[in-house]
């Protein structure tokens, strides 16, 4: 892999807190290595800002290996930036060229209010899980793990849906700020397993109700969510969600 250095112009959204109005600020960064991660480039910029007695840019990040779901930057009009199936923390600077201008914004959605700069409040996702994103089994109740076989195809599909990291890129990508991909991933994960079956109907209805209450928009099937998802959660899960919801609401018994 050829390594190179680059100079870049960054246009970054700055907003003191949820009450004040935000604006774009322009920054120049120099001698950025193509081997750096995007967030390491932000570290370099922040160190420079601190040294110059300026306020560093606030952004959410933690594991820096694409699994915790904390990082959430909207880069050049795309959640998590230009690479497919990727989080911001895994994006590396070789995705950019010397002289590029990069625009960085927070997730934009009514249900995700800005806390500061690029940091947003995603607690709506936790409340959707509280509404029904679980299997009601207390510690100590379980039967032997191999007592109920699960066919491999269902188990694999369930796992693929459970891979969701709750980052919110699907909402950020959607023109309606819909959370259908997030909700469908959880509904699919649990309803595909025999253990999740007893609460299938109540779960889907409760989660959808909470989703609406949080102010997420409706789904109009543009599939932008799937394209932006770092874990490649499939939109077919939304089909499954709709089917589960219909079954739950149109059948007489719960």
């Amino acid at each position: 892999m050829e390594h190179y250095n680059m100079n870049l112009t960054l246009k970054v959204w700055r907003q003191r807190n949820s009450k004040e109005k935000g604006r774009f600020e322009t920054y120049k960064v120099e001698n950025i290595s193509s081997e750096m991660s995007f967030l390491e480039m932000f570290d370099v910029l922040n160190e420079k800002l601190i040294t110059e007695d300026k306020e560093p840019i606030a952004f959410d990040h933690d594991c820096r290996e694409g699994i915790c779901g904390a990082c959430s930057m909207y880069i050049n009009g795309k959640p998590h930036g230009p690479w497919k199936a990727n989080t911001v923390c895994q994006l590396h600077m070789r995705a950019f060229n010397d002289g590029d201008t990069i625009v960085v914004e927070p997730w934009r959605a009514k249900a995700f209010p800005v806390i500061k700069d690029l940091v947003v409040d995603r607690s709506a996702f936790d409340r959707i899980i509280q509404a029904g994103g679980f299997i009601s089994v207390n510690t100590g109740n379980a039967v032997d793990a191999n007592a109920i076989p699960v066919d491999k195809e269902s188990a694999d599909k369930s796992f693929a849906a459970a891979a969701c990291i709750g980052c919110g890129a699907c909402v950020a990508a959607c023109k309606n700020s819909s959370a259908m991909l997030f909700v469908s991933a959880k509904v699919a994960h649990l309803s595909l397993l025999p253990q999740g079956s007893p609460e299938r109907k109540t779960r889907v209805v409760a989660m959808i109700n909470q989703m609406d209450k949080e102010g997420f928009g409706a789904c109009t099937n543009t599939n932008a969510c799937e394209a932006a998802c770092p874990k490649e959660i499939l939109v077919t899960n939304i089909g499954r969600l709709n089917h589960e919801y219909m079954t739950a609401t149109f059948t007489a018994d719960k």
Binding site: D43, D62, C68, Q90, D126, G133, F134, A142, N146
Partner: protein, 657 residues
Amino acid sequence: MLDAKIPEGNLNSKWTDYKGHCKLVNPANKRRLEVIIVGTGLAGASAAASLGELGYKVKAFCFQDSPRRAHSIAAQGGINAAKNYQNDGDSIFRLFYDTIKGGDYRSREGNVHRLAEVSANIIDQCVAQGVPFAREYGGLLSNRSFGGVQVQRTFYAAGQTGQQLLIGAYQALERQVALGNVAMYSRHEMLDVVLIDGKTRGIICRNLITGELERHFGHAVLLCTGGYGNVFYLSTNAMGCNVTAAWKAHKKGAYFGNPCFTQIHPTCIPVSGEYQSKLTLMSESLRNDGRIWVPKKQNDARKPNDIPEDERDYYLERRYPAFGNLVPRDVASRAAKERCDAGYGVGSSKQAVYLDYADAIQRYGKIEAGKQGIHNPSSEQIKQLGDEVVKEKYGNLFDMYEKITGENPYEVPMRIYPAVHYTMGGLWVDYELQTTVPGLYCLGEANFSDHGANRLGASALMQGLADGYFVIPYTIGNYLADEIRTKEIPTTHPEFEETEKTVAARIEKLMSIKGNETVESLHKRLGKIMWDKCGMARNAAGLKEAIEEIRALKKEFWSNVKIPGSIDEFNPELDKAGRVADFIELGELMCIDALERNESCGGHFREEYQTEDGEAKRDDENYMYVSAWEYKADEQWDLHKEELKYDVVHPTQRSYK
């Protein structure tokens, strides 16, 4: 001598006897008892959910924006359990024995046996919660091997086992939030423990959005705050992982156990430059199928694929024929360091070795061709089929490697090097997971208890969940049963007020320094001291230097740190400054502990104490104890010892040859 309160009797019946005789709290009283849980990783989330289910009033705290993001989520390879589903000779005793041996005979028999006993329940519980473990075509659970073990007892969900287990525990926790049994406080950081009349009665924490300090009362406090690997600056930990909660507890009287026992993981992606902010692990499961090698010639500049087979040194297979590439982590890490130090390292930094999948791809390709009835498959066909099998098993790890390095591991061997990964040391706890401060408990990686001087792969998840789901629900009752008459103490109590004042004063002090060095640069310098002198290899002279250097760094920190912004706002630099200040103090204690332990064991390798062929040389006569350090004053600690008694296992020189 410290008393760990390990129940008397036969090893097999200690835990059963304990459960049969510990005190219970009736449901009506549970409703009146409040428990504070700090940290929502596997240990914290599972404890919060389980105690909520039992009916206790629980308050849970995490610094992340959601409990689902705790760093347990990044665990890749798997979780051990003595299920013996593979019929390959596994048992509770084997898991117990492997863990004791893997820990180089520096852990407690009683604790480790309990861990092995409950391991099977964990898998049952997780499956019931909907954790989608890998399965075979018959619908039953699949297993794989991990280091230091000769059976297949590791359950996994691709390379995302930690994520799936944490989501299971997180969902159980959120269910209790919905039922009103648990109150969840995200973006909150614990900054001190409140003691009243010698007992833990609450915490002071900071709301990280507004900067406000808050007081919370609890009849007991559980610290489930993870490890302190970030003392090295570069580690596989998340950026936010820190020792602060445990350190505050330590300064309030909780002893710190074996602080120098840190695990350096052999398979991480090497450092690429000065700007590096963290290191990424490549799961130990890759050593199931990958082969580790370096060129036989020093400073060989050829590309890996140009080096012929007979000029490669598969040094693990050569040195340890019985376990080969699956030796425990401490052994594999030291072997890699030895080769690199001797000039056989690869890549531009020469601080790396190869992890090669070419053989595995060939092997799987041929098997697959046979399965599909393809006779005389071409080499392209074999490669393609083999790639597919490897992708199914390890795809996400290979993708991760390619994203970071820009190299395709299906075509070119991966470059790996050891990195700080886990800390076996932590707050000292007794059999009940209680620290030396009454009412203050410590679970998961944050405590020191089960892994001795080296943790085996796939055992961290097991311990975190064992502590949270199956141990603390019993042991905490034994304490709280005597607290049923204690009414909720109002947080206007003078001790709450006083503790909050101390916390506020420290934050104000930090902000008032207004020096010239950023928090990040001071942290980096601490990390360098620790890695160079208290890392994979240590010696007395280096440790003494390190202690002096850390003390100087502390002075510099407190006179020259530069923190932007203000107290009463979202200010990550301020959060980090407080954590780094604690890491500096911890670093000093780690070096003191490493200096005191004049032997090599597990991850603690003192260069003065090694066998002729470079293996760790224990000194059971003089060091068969847990070091538990009591904080006395700034730069002053007293050492207390807990003797380790082996009734069942006979410690021997650990051999993987």
